[in-house]
Symmetry: C2
Subunit: 264 residues, 2 copies
DNA sequence: CCATCTTTGTGCACGCGTTCACAAAGGCAT
DNA sequence: ATGCCTTTGTGAACGCGTGCACAAAGATGG
């Protein structure tokens, strides 16, 4: 799960709650699998299990789309696939640009399933002149200079940022200025964008840190709070002179620079 | 942002809300940046802006950790870095294994910042015998047969799955059986795990689909519902005979197989 | 045509998360 | 010392999301 988002606080988009929208792709995936196995109908219970959610939640989610089920029977798989696809805007083609063709950018570009769901990689863009023209995943890498024209010419409205953190905001600004209104950010930075532009963030580092938190908690429970040896939540008198000789964490550390996925 | 999660519904972990835990890494990153610039203190307002959140939210988040601020002044950067690092369990080392060294797995392995935050890649594992021994990011790829022994010998409790969807559940089961209790899943599948195991999902495809939804909505607003030409929400009489000749979406499509990141 | 059985769709209540707004706390100048 | 100014920490209200539980709907069999 990509984590942070930068969405309008809770502006229900046409009656469909944001939480529901986030689950629609999950349902769609499960339904597509059923469709491939030629299963004609599915109950909310079965589908919910396949999608890893509660059946009541699923039914409520679908109720926002309309009454597409048949009581006593369930949902028509093909029909539901179509409805959800349409609702998500997957019945049309979305040209996408990937900026920053490092390890991650290349991995994303090579992802074969990209085209299978309405998304098409219109161009790969990198700032390194040495990369220009070099084919990655069958597409020639274009130089950053061409960014604006590529966006305009292809009518790109979705951009993927896989650059180092330092370049992300600048790239973002150029993408937005050129007309992009949705951004998927893999760089470890908080992007600031004007009103009306959606940003979603994917951050491996954050995910790992959250896992570490829970992992530590599990380990701590075993020995029933055996951690935090002595000076646990020390009263901390003077405001200065603290800094408990922090282990790592403090130093400069190679961060905010590395290619993409997993920053801190 | 990685999206789906599979967390205990809302079991507040030792008083710290899940939503707060998810933001701590964000604060930590902003604080680390300040620390590198030798900024001694920071106000909730400044830090909140840097982290892209509301200042009241940030203060409330910090209040769960304790009273680490000084009224009229702000927070001591170094001290806060240490406290958050400790809270997240980043003061200890977490050995991690990456399973599935395809495009994405390799990209993750090459991510330099991995070690900079308490995470250390203990091993890269792949099922392809041809990959065995081949060095990726300075580490020799190990064969899946060694999975259990690697986990045990290194005391690995966090696993990253970057395999094709078809192999994910099986790999997951083996990881869990070997002692892994936290999993970061890049494969496009819902993993089922026993109680006590945390799973977080990162899914590019889902993120893009969510963006597409909002993008479509924006486009629809311009022309004020010019979409949905005629048969919009057709009453749908007979349960059978529907399937509105769904465009893409239905066919077999290359999915549930591709390496990792972006499935559907 | 009626009874029964299955499954949807949803009203309702509860809890988490967010935000406001302000009192308390501390620094600083006079 | 005293008063002012800044900023934290939090009580309280509100809204979204979740899950229960059930009535309505429809299919199916006799």
């Amino acid at each position: 799960m990509a984590t942070g988002r930068t969405h309008r606080p809770a502006t229900r988009s046409r009656g469909i709650p944001e939480a529901t929208v986030a689950r629609l792709p999950l349902y769609l995936r499960a339904l597509t699998a059923l469709s491939e196995r030629s299963v004609p109908t599915v109950s909310s219970e079965e589908l919910a299990t396949a999608a890893g959610v509660n059946s009541a939640k699923l039914r409520k989610d679908f109720s926002y789309l309309g009454s597409y089920g048949t009581r006593g029977v369930g949902y028509d798989v093909e029909y539901l696939v179509y409805q959800i696809s349409r609702e998500l805007g997957l019945t049309q083609d979305w040209p996408v640009v990937i900026v920053g063709i490092g390890n991650l950018g290349a991995a994303l570009a090579n992802y074969g399933g990209f085209a299978s769901r309405g998304f098409r990689v219109a161009a790969l863009i990198d700032a390194d002149p040495a990369m220009a023209g070099k084919p990655v995943a069958g597409l020639p890498v274009r130089h950053t200079d061409e960014l604006e024209s590529i966006i305009t010419d292809n009518g790109v409205s979705i951009g993927v940022i896989a650059t180092p953190a330092g370049a992300a905001q600048q790239v973002c600004d150029r993408l937005v200025a050129a007309g992009v209104t949705s951004i998927l950010n893999f760089a470890p930075t908080v992007l600031s964008v004007p009103e009306g532009v959606d940003v979603r963030k994917v951050d491996l580092s954050i995910e790992l840190q959250i896992l570490a938190f829970h992992e530590q908690r599990k380990a701590g429970e075993e020995t029933t709070s055996a951690q935090e040896p002595a000076a646990a939540v020390q009263p901390r008198s003077s405001a200065a002179a603290r800094t408990p000789a922090a282990g790592r964490a403090a130093g400069k550390g190679p961060d905010g620079d590395v290619p993409a996925v997993m920053p801190a």
